[in-house]
């Protein structure tokens, strides 16, 4: 809380000059809905800002948790991110989507904070991820030799009549998925949240994270598989 208050105070001390850009043309990186949202924001529409926060806050927290030690610190980093978004809104030129811009600010701040905190010791999040090695599914689940080498030895059991809504209707299943996501190294978590939760275009994620599209999809699949494994374990455990 204190650091949030400090951040807020710092923001007051460095209040940006009001430099109102006239928003006339659609910015190239924006969707139509983002273009309208930007216009509303620049007209001081607080409801628009509330919408923006409601839409992205959860994903920002989840990504931040990949870089910092705990939820409280993640909340501080995200709060600081929103403050910067407010202050820099006039200078946003729309070369990328609005949410990509916001996530870029967040990742920069989260990395800085993670380094400064030096308390980010969770093995899973410090785990360096090698894109080239390690298959998504444990090779032991496949037949290793013989006529059917490479085919399932221990196949997945069908999740009968499962929809996302039904799956997440169970608190245990939801907790299981959230825990699996929180245990992902940041290299996998970032792409999962940005691609599957936020729907950010792969080209923008690649630019943001400085990775190739091949890397992106390797990481994305690894992340999805780890979450799938967690759900599989939960369902087979009958919890």
């Amino acid at each position: 809380m204190n650091s949030v208050a400090t951040t807020y105070t710092e923001s007051l001390d460095h209040a940006p000059s009001v430099n109102r850009k006239t928003h006339t043309a659609k910015m190239p990186g924006l969707t139509k809905s983002e273009d309208r949202l930007i216009a509303r924001l620049r007209h001081g529409d607080e409801g628009a800002f509330d919408e923006l926060v409601n839409q992205h806050h959860g994903s920002l927290i989840r990504v931040a948790l990949g870089y910092v030690a705990d939820r409280d610190v993640a909340e501080e980093v995200v709060q600081d991110t929103w403050m910067t978004v407010i202050e820099k809104l006039d200078s946003f030129e729309g070369r990328s989507s609005l949410r990509t811009w916001i996530f870029g600010i967040l990742i920069h701040k989260a990395k800085d904070r993670g380094v400064r905190e030096k308390r980010h010791t969770t093995f899973s999040t410090l785990e360096s991820y090698d894109d080239d090695n390690e298959e998504a599914v444990d090779p032991a689940r496949f037949q290793q030799s013989g006529e059917w080498a490479g085919h399932w030895a221990f196949p997945p059991q069908p999740w009968d009549d499962r929809t996302p809504e039904k799956l997440l209707a169970s608190k245990q299943a939801t907790d299981c998925m959230q825990e699996a996501i929180s245990n992902l190294p940041s290299t996998l978590r970032d792409v999962l949240i940005m691609r599957d939760v936020e729907g950010i275009e792969s080209t923008e994620i690649c630019e943001l994270l400085k990775i190739t599209e091949t890397n992106l999809y390797v990481r994305l699949h690894r992340a999805r598989e780890r979450v799938r494994q967690a759900v599989e374990t939960y369902l087979e455990g009958g919890q």
Binding site: F49, G58, V137, P164, L168, E225, R228
Partner: protein, 90 residues
């Protein structure tokens, strides 16, 4: 086609290969020939169909994660800062 290991040879892909290709398949990133081979394999392999369905379900479930929102005090601070910085255009 029946689900039978003897049919897998038609696609030329093992189940192990299919698991590595699943996200690319679901996200429409495979070249057409490979996509056809994956489809052929899935047509004859219930286990891989289950796997692909589960990955798709995980992908879709991401959108249904519980919303996380700022605390009331943080939201108030944001609103105040926004009001201060975003003077409506005249």
């Amino acid at each position: 086609m029946k689900d039978h290991p003897s049919q897998w040879i038609v696609s030329g892909l093992t189940c192990r290969s299919i698991t590595e290709l699943t996200s690319d398949y679901l996200d429409e990133r495979l070249p057409i020939v490979r996509k056809v081979r994956v489809t052929l394999h899935l047509a004859t392999c219930a286990d891989c169909r289950a796997y692909v369905e589960q990955i798709a379900l995980v992908q879709d479930a991401m959108a249904y994660l519980p919303k996380l929102l700022p605390s009331p005090i943080n939201r108030l601070r944001l609103s105040q800062h926004f009001a201060r910085c975003q003077t409506p255009l005249q």
